[in-house]
């Protein structure tokens, strides 16, 4: 069915009734990253228009160095990362003023080591991940205070071994992905209690085979990424029942339209399509390229960049 998924992504945004596309303009940069990455994983990146996308990204870099989700929107670290990820796929980060990107990211770090998302100051471990992932792709991890950054992320570790968005926040699979990804890039995975966290993560698997993000919540195919990638990073991916998960992910496909939905029967979108395919890649699906569990990008792209974030065994 990969061809159907590729057709879905290639056509996304050119449909007539794309109110949803309009509504999601505020995250367009991430939307492009999801689409391009899943196409590359399926070996179909050439179907996307590199020049148009590069021009678009260039128009989204602001004077402060940060990148916005779309033209006329404000810069934010989320979309700065997505832009750098896209350009890394194309081996063309110099479309952006890289030094200014680095300055922007550096400027978001707070005294306690945390990162704000933008100048308005929302703090979240997601932004710690975005910051170091951006800098890792640009080879500029030296630009921030890494010790302080690590200190903050570790302060978000909870009694159950998981991580939340700020100190004391409930453990959540999405935040755990960001924190384990962060610690991998920072070379600090040994600070994780891998057995305890691995247990919490494999408890996400429900009888249906799908994964939820917190205890007593519903399964969602995007958790096939957040949970699975986290387990891969801490060396315990085999604690999930792989065949049951695979069945769940495949059930989230829409055989008519292509693409994946959050759970079987719901409407598809590019976000869940990427994470469904990336999850299958982690499970060893032969026809999909290997995906890197830390950066959610094709391994061959990171090979080219010489990036090998740590994984526990």
């Amino acid at each position: 069915m990969l061809d159907k998924h590729a057709d879905y992504i290639a056509a996304y945004g050119s449909k007539k009734d794309d109110y949803e596309y309009t509504l999601s303009e505020y995250l367009r940069m991430s939307g492009i990253y999801w689409g391009l990455t899943v196409m590359d994983l399926m070996g179909q990146l050439t179907r996307m228009n590199q020049q148009e996308i590069s021009d678009f990204i260039k128009s989204c870099q602001h004077d402060c160095g940060g990148v916005s989700a779309s033209i006329g929107h404000d810069p934010h670290v989320l979309y700065t990362l997505s832009a750098v990820q896209i350009l890394s796929l194309y081996d063309n980060v110099n479309v952006l003023d890289v030094d200014k990107v680095v300055e922007y990211v550096r400027g978001l770090q707070q005294e306690d080591g945390s990162f704000a998302g933008d100048k308005w100051g929302e703090i979240d471990t997601r932004f710690s991940f975005c910051a170091v992932a951006t800098l890792a792709l640009l080879g500029r991890l030296d630009a921030i205070n890494m010790d302080k950054a690590v200190e903050f992320v570790l302060s978000c570790m909870n009694f159950d071994g998981g991580f939340g968005c700020r100190p004391g926040s409930e453990s959540h699979a999405g935040q755990i992905y960001c924190c384990t990804g962060f610690l991998s890039i920072a070379g600090q995975l040994h600070q994780v209690n891998a057995d305890l966290l691995g247990w919490w993560l494999c408890e996400r698997q429900l009888p249906s085979g799908g994964l939820n993000g917190r205890p007593e919540k519903l399964p969602d195919v995007c958790y096939s990424w957040w949970v699975l990638a986290s387990l891969k990073i801490i060396g315990r991916i085999h604690w999930i029942d792989k065949s049951k998960l695979r069945s769940f992910i495949l059930a989230c496909q829409d055989e008519e339209t292509g693409g994946f939905a959050d759970r079987p029967g719901d409407m598809v979108d590019p976000f869940h399509t990427l994470f469904g395919v990336a999850g299958l890649s982690l499970l060893g699906e032969g026809q999909i390229k290997d995906v890197n569990p830390v950066l959610c990008m094709p391994e061959d792209v990171l090979e080219r960049l010489g990036l090998h974030p740590d994984l526990l065994s």
Binding site: K16, Y19, L23, L27, E52, F56, I71, S169, R214, E216
Partner: protein, 336 residues
């Protein structure tokens, strides 16, 4: 005043402004079909941004833009800029953001906006009640809980929170957010180092387990509060768990027993073979029957225990039941 049902292009109050159409870059990636109202509002919003207009009508427009798309963070930024530039009544803004959140409670921007207004006013007096109202509609709303934790910590509103958490757990003992909050409150107030408090929490947890044995959260909580001191060190706990096993068994209970036995093995030298064999038997049971979806995890635990605590001349395999090679009362040398 303006009629919100009219398109802006038809309102006389806006006749002086030239709307700015969407710019997707030099070569638009796709041709987009907008709904008319969305196009109308956002074209005028872009015009305001371009002119850096700071006016009451701009503020009104941000409200219309938010109504169409409350996730657009640029609109929220601009609204905050306007609130400050125009020195607007922040109490009125609190009423506004209250209504927005009630309508769309699962959105980062709305909660961050509320936090900014609370900070500007330096007045948290409405927060706990408001958040409780939102949680009454969805008791696990992640954004609501973050905001609640911030308010409590920032303004030192700890006093009645444990009572609130207990009330939520009465309503739904499986609410993981409430268990997390319980840990948050106690950690930041009394702490767990007082044995009376720790025991109170242990007994509270066991009581909840009796009510609903298949509850991931309470078992994670119980393990979490005991793991520093050691699960096997808490007086009487093993006996209570073994008692519960008869009437309120669950895979979580069995797993917890394994954890107690493991802690025992780590901290005592006696009865190793007996305890190890019990632990291995449970791992086997969980892998084979009680929690098969996580059989790899249970096999791993069994193997680790065997490797760490099995006697060096034992020939047991990973799936061996708890039969042992010697008398249980004889002290056997521990393998290092």
């Amino acid at each position: 005043s303006e009629d919100p049902k009219q398109l802006i292009q038809d309102r006389k109050e806006w006749a002086d402004l030239e709307p700015v159409p969407q710019d997707d870059g030099p070569n638009p990636v796709v041709k987009i079909a907008y709904s008319d109202k969305f196009t109308d509002v956002y074209d005028y919003f872009r015009a305001l941004l371009k002119n850096d207009e700071k006016s009451d009508r701009a503020l009104l427009l941000t409200a219309e833009a938010i109504e169409l798309n409350a996730a657009n963070y640029t609109v929220w930024h601009y609204r905050r800029v306007l609130l400050q530039a125009l020195e607007k009544d922040l109490r009125e803004e609190m009423r506004y953001i209250t209504a927005i959140i009630e309508d769309q409670p699962k959105n980062y921007q709305v909660w961050h906006h509320r936090r900014m207004v609370v900070e500007w006013l330096n007045d948290p007096s409405e927060e706990l009640e408001f958040i409780a109202e939102i949680l009454s509609q969805d008791a696990k709303n992640y954004h609501a809980w973050q905001h609640r934790q911030w308010v409590i910590k920032e303004y030192k509103l700890w006093d009645s929170e444990l009572e609130y958490v207990e009330q939520l757990l009465e309503e739904d003992v499986r609410n993981n957010s409430a268990w997390n909050q319980r840990h948050y409150i106690i950690s930041h107030t009394t702490g767990y180092s007082d044995p009376a408090i720790l025991n109170r929490e242990v007994q509270y947890s066991l009581k909840q387990i009796k009510k609903a044995p298949h509850n991931e959260s309470v078992w994670n909580y119980l393990k979490g509060i005991l793991q520093d001191l050691g699960l096997s060190s808490h007086p009487g706990l093993l006996e209570q768990i073994l008692e519960l096993k008869e009437t309120h068994c669950s895979p979580y209970l069995l797993g917890f027993l394994v954890d107690i036995y493991e802690d025992f093995l780590e901290n005592t030298l006696e009865h190793h073979e007996e305890v190890l064999s019990k632990a291995l038997e449970l791992c086997e049971l969980l892998a084979r029957e009680k929690d098969t979806i996580r059989r790899e995890y249970w096999s791993y635990v069994g193997r680790s225990l065997q490797t760490k605590y099995g006697s060096s001349d034992s020939s047991t395999t990973t799936s061996a039941p708890g039969s042992d090679s010697g008398s249980v009362h004889q002290e056997t040398p521990c393998s290092s």
